[in-house]
């Protein structure tokens, strides 16, 4: 009973703050409304005994929103003052698409005959997850690692303003000629 009440409260918070991302008057407010939505979903995951995943969601998403706020200000250059802003294109089509998606998905969820629960959760879900990750699902983790490394390399390659030859000169002589020297002297 209490779990139901908490869940409905969290759902309302998640959906309302998610919707308010596109309605508030300031970029920082939009970013942190999204953070609130993610924290609510993380708490809902905690309700379903996904302890590690719920906390990781909260952790990662708050960190990401803090950095995203910096990007917002960088691209859009707004100040903390609240000013009405609405930059949309094709709003009616988007609303129609969103409503259609919601009707189709929730209709499917309500009408499909879901099977019965198969098995029971382990008494210690965190230990079970750890053993699965390090044991039977180790190959999955090993496959994700190069994807992550590739993302890091690709992201820096795309976003870095100065490449190797810009920084070190044509003959790659260190130290680099940076406008702000690094702390280790590379």
């Amino acid at each position: 009973m209490l779990a139901d009440l908490v869940f409905w409260g969290l759902s309302v918070v998640a959906v309302v703050s998610g919707a308010s991302v596109f309605r508030v008057d300031s970029m920082a407010r939009a970013t942190y409304a999204l953070a609130v939505s993610f924290v609510a979903v993380g708490a809902a995951l905690l309700l379903m005994r996904l302890d590690y995943l719920g906390l990781i969601t909260v952790l990662m998403m708050v960190m990401e929103m803090a950095v995203m706020a910096v990007y917002m200000v960088m691209f859009m250059g707004m100040n903390p003052a609240l000013m009405p802003m609405s930059m949309v294109h094709g709003k009616r089509a988007a609303v129609a698409a969103a409503v259609t998606v919601f009707v189709v998905l929730s209709g499917g969820a309500l009408l499909v005959d879901w099977p019965a629960r198969r098995g029971a959760p382990a008494p210690d879900t965190v230990a079970a997850l750890g053993e699965a990750l390090m044991g039977s699902k180790m190959l999955v983790m090993m496959a994700i690692s190069p994807v992550m490394i590739a993302t890091m390399v690709a992201g820096i390659a795309v976003a870095a303003p100065r490449g190797r030859y810009d920084r070190f000169g044509d003959d790659l002589r260190s130290p680099a000629a940076d406008p702000q020297r690094g702390g280790v002297g590379r």
Binding site: F22, E64, A93, V101, S106, W114, T151, P161
Partner: protein, 100 residues
């Protein structure tokens, strides 16, 4: 807290994300829409795990979804940074090179 209820909430989050991804002009706001869609997917996958098959394999799938979300955000912001540097704009309407 039944499976149907959680899935309807996840569908609502996903729908709000679809609205954001389709209607916003600024690249970063489109990415916020994508984040909301990922949020919905995460909640739905967690609900399916809990109500249908609560063994550790499903949690690994959730971790992979989380990793995919991270990768998408990282690459999205890298491309947005490059786009802003090259064209001085952050509007998706200015990125129509491949259209028509």
């Amino acid at each position: 807290m039944t499976l149907d209820a959680v899935l309807v909430v996840a569908a609502a989050l996903f729908a709000v994300g679809v609205y954001g991804a389709l209607s916003q002009q600024v690249v970063v706001m489109v990415m916020m829409g994508l984040e909301l869609m990922n949020n919905g997917v995460l909640l739905a996958a967690a609900a399916m795990w809990w109500f249908l098959a609560p063994d550790p394999t499903g949690q690994v799938l959730l971790l992979v979804v989380l990793a995919a979300m991270t990768v998408e955000m990282a690459m999205g912001f890298a491309v947005a940074t490059l786009f802003h540097r090259e064209r001085g704009s952050d509007m998706t309407d200015m990125a129509e090179d491949l259209a028509g």
